[in-house]
Symmetry: C2
Subunit: 806 residues, 2 copies
């Protein structure tokens, strides 16, 4: 524990006084960190340390924390010296005690939580609350002022940092990357984010690779590569690495301060060149490699085993401090090594020397408004979505690519919000038919270009990298710092970010109960290239299960929409773009599909979220014989085609057609604030009639949502049941028995009064299925009657809907 | 389309004849690839190309394919020259036509699918079947001989390749990495796999970065970095890059052949040094960068737009070839440019020149047994799991870390299978209490070491990298090439590989219906550090939803086990390690937990998968008043504690305790081959009594599994409902109302005959919950009566179970 050096006057970058002060801050932050992990009383050790002062359950992580604190202290010095707008993202978010300590030293913590005052009593509460029932979590959670990054699931620090820096020209985001974290895929991919930075328009990210050598129980790869390899790797990522290595505090303080100054000078010069000289081609951005011991300043050894500088300091370095006298002695010596008596005054508040080492007000990293993005959030300027309406003269006709229509609206959203809206996609923007957005802006691209390139520019706002992780991380960082975004993705591959979605949903959920966190814009997903239309691909691209994944999270933070056509998609997208604090999942096809509702009807339908389609139903005067429900574009089409078959074969069959846009309306009010009341549900689905429900995804999800409903026993659901390959669109339906013929057979089999009169029709439908199979195997495409089918069951103009540009 | 160079004699590495032959193979493979994408008749263009020869739906990907074919041709030359055992992993698996063409040229395809003969008729079928209903998928799917890697979801080529190479000392895996694929997180992380390779024991991976410049609609980052940066990056990854760049076939053939020879020489020398000189420290492995145009040899331009060397050649470069005369002309010219008349004889078979350019029998990459791992699979030598049994004298007592007991068994499985079994974990092996495995072997580590390192060695067999993606990819590659493995992971973070699980499950499912694919060992997950015991962490670490995700896949390929204690865990693990073609998910806690069943009972219980626990039940003589079901260790404990409360308060209440180990037994036979028959289900759960079910995960999953059962309406399920933070273990249960008090209240509220006699008890239980809350907020740990609770409701010896080492 050699952290009490004799500071001498040198010609180093820090004056002796500065060095003293920075070191004092660091000691104070470390002291408060250890205190949080271990103590529940006697916070300033004004009495000898007794068993009852130590928490009975010791929970938390020490190893990463001194490094995080060290960097914090130095960033503060730089912020003050240069009047910077800075934000701190800590990859190893398990170092939660660090930023909490810093927030308390800066006063933010007590401003935010008056109960945790800047005095002895407050310090005691600060210690006790950590990882304690009713207290705060062990990570850099939403509860932590100044944080946008929990860091529990490792890998997202850099992408979050870049997301925060985009369109924030004055912001510098210091991002600590754990050397263990750096082994994760998402982190490894995110280094290349610098190819998407525009030094004229965006802020800067300063990555700090925290090479403390260890992760939980292993050394890290980056710490055990040859130095030339590490250097090559980081240069390969597009950075100029600066190394700060050692463990002697004096040397390390001087080195880090000097290095940080150099990096900030480089950043300033890069920005100046871009902003004054117009040189916006990609610079090589500086970064810092901090090689220091894990658990730095902690006990060197416990029970004869190395602790400081070893993986053994990852969590609580020794855990019998309450029961074991000698461990308690180690703890006390450790705590006293920081000389708390010099750091805190009589009242328990930080002494003046420390109080003065932080910037004021919102310049404090613990108080930056960027980390409470709702404060900075401005509403999007929205065009009127009605202007993009597709004309639908006759429902169930036409062939419109719904997402292409949406692209036109997104183009104009983009054009109206050129500094706080971005569109994200893993190289699928055009494939997903959102190419119109490129009329308003380019794709962000700061790497080399060639003359024939298509819409690439450093000031583009369509973010395309072939990494769902990086897209998601950028978007999260962008949203949490108060901006808006839209993520389009192939439906199957959105599972790549399942775990990231989890973490974001949890963040929103927790934030909802933190009064000082202001609502941020929703995270909007458009899932397209969906399971039913994987024309160029096959089984590996067929998975509608993201919805199942999403609805495990709190219903207060998630919504799922299945607009059946272009107009409903426009209405839904408009709603989502205006919403706050949700994750909105919109599933809509990109292939030409028939249209059902004109804009007026679409708005009504989307507002209700679920409704009877009168024009397709035949039950106007009495309870129906059967309810045919549908959710999703292809299921809706197949349902209507089945209805048409049934209407022609059994003219007096009374069919009610119910369409669902807002999926969670199916759930009961008790489980979901957006759920239909039982009364309303029964009014739609009856209490005793068969319901044949065609659903976009895995069928059991509908059962899961409706199991409490009175008529649940009569629900018969068709959906995707993992049958698929490269085949025709209609054959995908047939393989999963969600096609018109099977749906019609389902009705025949379930409606009692059809039992005796349907044998011939049933046979006819079975024959159709065989005919279909034969046909496609010969011709490779669907039968003309399928390909060209349009709704014609009710009278009306024969016009086809046509997309209508605004 | 300058691919008809005048080959001249030079002193290059390829003789003119070799050059000619390699070029002929490449032309043939390209011809067959284009044919597959476009043609359904007239395969050898022996008549002029007519509209009806062209498929009506053109589906597939051309852009990547010529590169894949080029490499294939050269690998074949090297295999023959050096008599190598090689395998080919193609990251851009959308280039499916390539390996299918190669397999056909090598004869494997016709051996595997006799209908696709090596003649004109066979070629016609080969063309027609591609991306055609009833035919084959567009990707390098299980249907493709020689493949272990579908490559639909991008990112796993390198980790699959390394998985294949481990413990295969004679195997060289050539792995093509798409330059787009390289942007993904999983791929970016997997470069560091070389730190886990032992050149004495393992084979080699030869990465070939396919720098064709584009992905779907964008340039790639790696293609647009400065050359020095790219070089630094690849060196930083631990490789020595060799560049082959250009588009002139003659030059490219010579360059690639020379480069491949050099790389294979380097690999041979690395292996020799390791095997003869004992130098096994990590070498810098060679790799190739192939920079060539996307869609190489395809049409240079279509409709005035650049196609060859552009993203426009990604899929089908022009799609109106059936309808549009001029497009059809382009197609015909393109096809004829390969001079098919020189490549195929009168019968339609490849000419001798081509027939001779491939190795024989299993040396053909399309026929390597490694890619049909079941052929090579040997059973594990298994110790008797009964030898590790924990002694349980009295059920519901003790405090054993179940996974630690499992670790002892895994240690001996490891010791007995030191060449075909590995254990994988993202830096959590010891945290998950599997440290005993390190008594049998070390952790694999070929980077630098320091003296105090803990069990790191180049010949270790515990694979730890902080990347769930890399662990999963390695394991998949290892299994698919015929070996065994075990993956332990924090429950919450297994979602990181949700999408990889999807792809593997789909692979298994498809393989099940491919007769020539032989069964491989199951992929075994141990999920621990589970939702109920996140002591050091909190909300971000609480997510039991992987089970929900898994059961969306075909029930023929997935199993889920929730052993409630150590002995059941042993029995389940033994079963899983012996199984084939499944993904087995085992969820078990690592914290000290009470034990319930001695080994004899555990075996009976696990064999049934679900059963009544007589010793805990009070319903022996009649139908019970209530069934208390449980699945999972913590829910089982809470259920028993609730039973004890109820038994003491209502001595004549008839309670049946049902425990579930094999979760999918709950599902009906119709939905799942492992499901209980309705009769059996009703015998356990009655048809009309209330069922209070305590489940480890999200409660609605139990509803989803049981919705067809007669008694479903009486199921009342408790589980994790996304309430959590850093708190005490029991408080986690209380927050989610799965604790003993709430469960007992549930019983009171649901059993009619308790209605009038339970008010005081109900109040008492409510008070307990308040007392609990007060207590933990003061003391930071659970009340002693909770912490120390053991089952004592029935008589028996008071002994505590103790772990018993074998
Ligand atoms: C995706 C993921 N996998 C596994 C873990 C479990 N885990 C928590 S901390 C840690 C080690 C982190 O090492 P490093 O990034 O070097 O942080 P530090 O050394 O600064 O503590 C691991 C593996 C995790 N949090 N996230
Ligand atoms: C994880 C994932 N995200 C997105 C896609 C959609 N996709 C299919 S091919 C492709 C481009 C691949 O580019 P590259 O790896 O360079 O392959 P090549 O150029 O050889 O075709 C993309 C983005 C995918 N298959 N997987
Ligand atoms: Mg570390
Ligand atoms: Mg490419």
């Amino acid at each position: 524990m050699n952290h009490r050096p004799e500071f001498s006057e040198t010609d180093d970058v820090l004056s002796p006084q500065e060095l003293q002060r920075i070191h004092a801050w660091w000691r104070a932050a470390n002291y408060l960190s250890v205190g949080q992990i271990y103590l529940m009383d006697n916070p300033l050790l004004r009495e000898p340390l007794l068993p009852e002062h130590v928490k009975p359950r010791l929970l938390g992580h020490w190893g990463t924390t001194p490094g995080l604190n060290f960097i914090y202290a130095h960033l503060n010095r730089a912020i003050m010296k240069r009047d910077l707008e800075m934000m701190y993202v800590m990859g190893p978010g398990h170092g939660g005690p660090g930023p909490v300590a810093a927030g308390w030293l800066e006063g933010t913590y007590s401003e935010t939580y008056p109960n945790i005052s800047q005095d002895l009593e407050g310090m005691k509460r600060l210690f006790k609350q950590f990882s304690f029932p009713g207290g705060i979590p062990s990570h850099v959670a939403p509860e932590t002022p100044g944080s946008i990054h929990e860091g529990g699931e490792l890998g997202y620090s850099l992408s979050h940092a870049y997301g925060a820096a985009f369109d924030n020209p004055e912001l510098i985001v210091a991002a600590v990357v754990g050397d263990g974290e750096a082994e994760t895929g998402p982190l490894a991919a995110s280094w290349h984010s610098n190819k998407f930075m525009n030094p004229a328009r965006d802020g800067a990210v300063l990555p700090i690779l925290h090479l403390n050598g260890y992760k939980i129980a292993n050394p890290t790869i980056l710490a055990r590569m040859d130095r030339d390899e590490l250097d090559a790797l980081l240069r390969g990522y597009g950075h100029i690495p600066h190394y700060v290595e050692g463990k002697d505090p004096e040397q390390m303080h001087q080195d880090f301060a000097r290095t940080l100054d150099a990096c900030l000078d480089e950043i300033r010069e890069i920005m100046r060149r871009a902003r004054e000289d117009g040189q916006i081609q990609r610079p090589r951005w500086p970064m810092i490699v901090l090689r220091s011991p894990k658990g730095w300043t902690g006990p060197a050894e416990v029970d004869g085993k190395k602790v400081e500088g070893s993986w053994r300091s990852h969590q609580v370095p020794f855990s019998a401090a309450r029961e074991n006298e000698s461990h308690r002695q180690i703890l006390e010596t450790w705590l006293r090594s920081y000389r708390p008596e010099e750091l805190f005054d009589e009242s328990g508040a930080p002494v003046e020397e420390i109080r003065s080492l932080h910037p004021a007000g919102p310049r404090r990293m613990s108080a930056t408004p960027h980390a409470n993005g709702g404060i900075l959030l401005r509403d999007l300027r929205m065009p009127d979505f009605r202007d993009y309406a597709v004309q639908v003269n006759k429902p169930g006709t036409g062939a419109v690519e719904a997402t292409r229509v949406l692209g036109q609206m997104l183009r104009d959203v983009m054009a109206a919000n050129m500094d706080n809206f971005r569109v994200f996609s893993p190289d699928e923007n055009n494939s997903n038919r959102l190419a119109a957005v490129l009329e308003a802006t380019d794709r962000t691209w700061n790497a080399h270009t060639v003359p024939e390139d298509d819409h690439l520019a450093p000031d583009g706002r369509v973010m395309e990298i072939l990494s769902e992780h990086t897209c998601q991380g950028w978007l999260e960082g962008y949203l949490l710092t108060g901006r808006h975004g839209f993520f389009s993705c192939y439906e199957a591959f959105i599972h790549v970010v399942d775990s990231m979605f989890n973490q974001h949903a949890k963040w929103l959920d927790t934030s909802n109960s933190i009064p000082w966190r202001r609502p941020v814009a929703s995270l909007n997903y458009l899932l397209t290239s969906h399971v039913w239309r994987q024309d160029h691909n096959g089984f590996s691209h067929q998975d509608p299960g993201f919805i199942d994944h999403v609805i495990n999270k709190k219903s207060e933070v998630i919504r799922v929409y299945l607009p059946p056509d272009a107009n409903t998609l426009l209405s839904v997208a408009d709603h989502c773009l205006r919403s706050r604090q949700y994750v909105n999942v919109i599933v809509a096809g990109k292939q030409p599909q028939m249209q059902f509702l004109d804009m007026a009807d679409a708005i009504v339908h989307c507002t209700k979220g679920i409704g009877i389609w009168d024009w397709a139903s035949t039950d106007t005067d009495a309870e129906p014989d059967v309810v045919m429900g549908a959710a999703g574009d292809v299921p809706t089409m197949e349902t209507l085609a089945a209805v048409e078959i049934l209407r022609s074969r059994f003219p007096d069959l009374s069919i009610r057609v119910v369409n669902v846009v807002d999926l969670l309306r199916l759930q009961d009010e008790a489980n979901n604030p957006h759920g239909l009341a039982d009364r309303e549900f029964d009014a739609l689905f009856t209490t005793d009639k068969p319901v044949i429900f065609a659903y976009h995804g895995y069928p059991w999800l509908i059962h899961r949502l409706t199991y409490r409903r009175s008529n649940h026993g009569n629900f018969h659901v068709r959906g995707y049941k993992e049958e698929g390959t490269t085949t025709t669109p209609f054959d995908m339906c047939v393989l999963n028995q969600i096609d018109r013929f099977n749906l019609a057979i389902d009705v025949i089999d379930r409606v009692p009064r059809l039992q005796d009169i349907s044998s011939h029709v049933r046979e006819e439908l079975k024959n159709k299925l065989i005919e279909h199979r034969q046909y496609i195997r010969t011709h490779g495409e669907d039968m003309p009657e399928i390909r060209n089918w349009q709704w014609s069951a009710n009278p009306g103009a024969a016009d086809q809907p046509t997309p209508q540009a605004p």
